[in-house]
């Protein structure tokens, strides 16, 4: 059986169920790299130039972990999923960059996703991708439709049950996941899923919030409509592909009455440097929800994250007791 490797990084958190359904529909076995470890990060960092952002370093580490375990590695070049809204250069050049920095990589299955070039072009791209595994166009079509269905179910599951992507993936895999406890006070986490759910690079942020007696709300738990109205309110027209994860969820949560909001970005992230700034400005304007911005990189120390988180939670407690004005 042909083995297709999927790195557990970057877009994995948004699209994994869809990708798995597609490749399994074509008779391939899907192999996901193990969760990030310090070694993954170190291996990835050693391949790319120092200025590359943390998530891409992690991604390279995951590709390295898959090198001799599969026949193909799937790396999409996701350019645009909405009209006239484009993605960061690092996503666009991801297949080419991986090929350049990891020459020993197995053949890369890449697909150009650009909705601006028309539906027909997109279907052709999907077909081109499928051709690597099957000669049968009908089979590819069936796999693609099933994949799309799986993706919608995945998204709905996260919105309806308030699950994070790793929880939803586990549930789709048949595991029992504890449902969220809605009676706890909520803290919103704002940021891209590859930062929020990679427990190594964010030093188990979600976990720590839960231990402190809070419930973490994340961008995936909001409906597209909620995200869209929040973006329109804050910046008008979205510009980046995943703007809703930052500006949309930030704009929404800041006015939703959560106890506090934490913006998580990676150091040197181009889009986030601007988007998180928008959210921060909004927080300053509103003065209703305490906001903390957390920048992650490979030198971020666990103790530093813990200290800042404790201080932030203490501040929220104090605010509650005194009804004091919000610090941002």
């Amino acid at each position: 059986m042909v083995k297709v490797g999927i790195p557990r990084a970057l877009l994995y958190y948004q699209y994994y169920p869809m990708w798995r359904t597609f490749f399994e529909g074509l008779g391939a076995e899907v192999i996901v790299s193990p969760p990030t470890t310090q070694a993954t990060l170190a291996a990835g960092s050693s391949r790319v130039v120092a200025d590359t952002c943390l998530p891409v370093k992690v991604f390279c580490g995951h590709v390295l972990a898959l090198v001799d375990k599969c026949d193909y590695i799937f790396i999409p070049a996701l350019r645009s999923v909405k009209s006239k809204i484009y993605n960061c250069s690092k996503f666009l050049g991801l297949p080419d960059m991986t090929r350049a920095v990891i020459p020993e990589c197995p053949p890369i299955l890449d697909i150009d996703i650009d909705i601006n070039k028309g539906k027909r072009r997109l279907y052709r791209e999907i077909y081109r991708l499928g051709r690597n595994l099957s000669w049968n166009p009908i089979k590819i079509r069936r796999a693609a439709l099933a994949a799309w269905q799986a993706h919608r179910e995945y998204k709905e599951l996260m919105v309806n049950d308030g699950l994070t992507p790793p929880q939803a993936i586990a549930r789709l895999g048949g595991a029992e996941t504890p449902s969220n406890t809605p009676d706890r006070p909520a803290i919103a986490l704002i940021g891209h899923p590859y930062l929020l759910y990679d427990e190594l690079i964010n030093h188990r942020l979600v976990h720590r919030l839960e231990q402190a007696g809070y419930r973490a709300l994340t961008p995936e738990m909001l409906t597209p409509e909620q995200l869209e109205t929040a973006i329109t309110r804050l910046t008008g027209q979205p510009y980046w592909t995943y703007e809703e994860e930052v500006v949309g969820s930030g704009g929404h949560y800041l006015e939703s009455g959560v106890e506090g909001a934490i913006g998580v970005i990676a150091f040197g992230c181009g889009p986030d440097s601007l988007m998180m700034d928008m959210v921060q400005r909004q927080a300053i304007r509103l003065k209703t929800t305490p906001f903390m911005s957390l920048t992650l990189e490979e030198h971020t120390a666990e103790a530093g994250v813990v200290t800042r988180l404790e201080a932030f939670l203490d501040m929220i407690q104090r605010k509650k007791r005194r009804g004091a004005e919000v610090c941002v």
Partner: protein, 360 residues
């Protein structure tokens, strides 16, 4: 309404000519200096790139001079540039300036985007007037770029170092002051004449170094610490593919006909980078592949945290076509002595290479 524009190299000269001829009220902020940079750094989000910081500094300085309509390039599908205006407007508002930023869509519409904005700002001036003003602006741009090309050739071989730079500086002022085609032509012929008479070291065979990378840092000497002048001082002939006049020429007349100046570069980059990644990333890889044979080395300029150039920088070492590349990241932390040391070491390395080649 008073219009303000940000800086990029000498671009303010043609812009000034254009706005003057249309009899619009405008201000040109001081050319980039330490204060511009400090203002920009102070009010920019932490991880932003140097073009954002410097243009923000320009806009603040323009607003200080009373500008309330600020022109900024924008567009979609490029890089962070498309998002600049949104954030910069918020910064200006939070500083208490009631200024509006007018986005000039230059990425897709190219120069037509600027034409449309100008038409609107000039209260629907007749097209004939706008086009004639535009032509004059373009003429100034062409003169400046022609002279700069000549200066690049003279710098490495002149006997008295700094002569070409002095002539160039004088030509810039003269171009700015010229107010009709005749005097503009005189400026050009005079300067080229003087440049050709500069005493040269005839025996010198200067190293040839290509300058590649991101548009803004390539064209704004303040942001790259005058890297071209410094290379010239070290006796290196600089080649740069990117000139604003080239860009305007193509975007006005040839791109609509389907001719793209960058096709050659894209084709060259194909084996290593198959798609446009925004900014100038694709072109940077293409330049390396294309010029590996005919240049001695390349200096790759990029703003710190520039997304497309980081991808390009990661891909470049893997190309079969091999040529030494020195990447210089530009931001407010770039120090001149450090950069000079790196340039000197790089030039030494290129000299060694050339000597070794000659021996073989």
């Amino acid at each position: 309404m008073r219009i303000g524009v940000p800086h990029m190299g000498n671009l303010y000269i043609p812009l000034k000519a254009l706005l003057e001829r249309l009899e619009l009220d405008f201000v040109i902020p001081p050319v980039n200096n330490q204060r511009t940079l400090s203002l920009g750094v102070r009010y920019s989000p932490e991880g932003m790139c140097i073009p954002f910081k410097l243009t923000l500094g320009n806009l603040i300085e323009a607003a200080e001079l009373g500008a309330d309509t600020l022109l900024m390039p924008a567009g979609s599908g490029i890089c962070r540039l498309g998002y600049y205006a949104k954030t910069q407007e918020q910064v200006l508002h939070s500083l208490g300036y009631d200024a509006e930023i007018v986005s000039v869509g230059v990425s897709q519409r190219k120069l037509l985007g600027l034409l449309e904005v100008i038409k609107r700002l000039s209260n629907n001036a007749p097209w004939a007037k706008i086009i004639s003003a535009f032509r004059f602006g373009l003429a100034k741009l062409n003169v400046l770029d022609t002279i700069e090309r000549a200066v690049q050739k003279v710098r490495p071989v002149e006997r008295v170092k700094g002569t070409a730079n002095r002539l160039f500086a004088r030509a810039i002022t003269a171009t700015e002051q010229a107010d009709d085609y005749q005097s503009l032509k005189r400026v050009k012929t005079d300067c080229l004449e003087q440049l050709s008479q500069v005493e040269r070291d005839e025996s010198a065979e200067p190293l040839v170094v290509g300058i590649i990378g991101e548009f803004y840092v390539l064209l704004e000497p303040f942001s790259n610490m005058d890297v071209e002048k410094e290379l010239g001082r070290l006796g290196v002939e600089v080649r740069r593919g990117l000139f604003t006049s080239e860009w305007t020429k193509f975007s006005l007349f040839l791109n609509p006909l389907g001719v793209n100046e960058k096709d050659r570069l894209h084709k060259a980059a194909m084996p290593y980078l198959k798609r446009d990644i925004g900014g100038e990333g694709w072109e940077s890889v293409g330049e390396k592949v294309l010029h590996a044979k005919d240049y001695d080395g390349l200096v790759h300029l990029a703003p710190f945290t520039c997304m497309p150039e980081i991808v390009a920088q990661n891909i470049m070492p893997s190309t079969k076509e091999n040529i030494p590349v020195l990447t210089i990241l530009c931001d407010e932390q770039l120090g001149k002595p450090g950069m000079l040391t790196r340039l000197e070491a790089f030039v030494d390395l290129l000299k060694h290479h050339r000597r070794a080649k000659v021996k073989v």
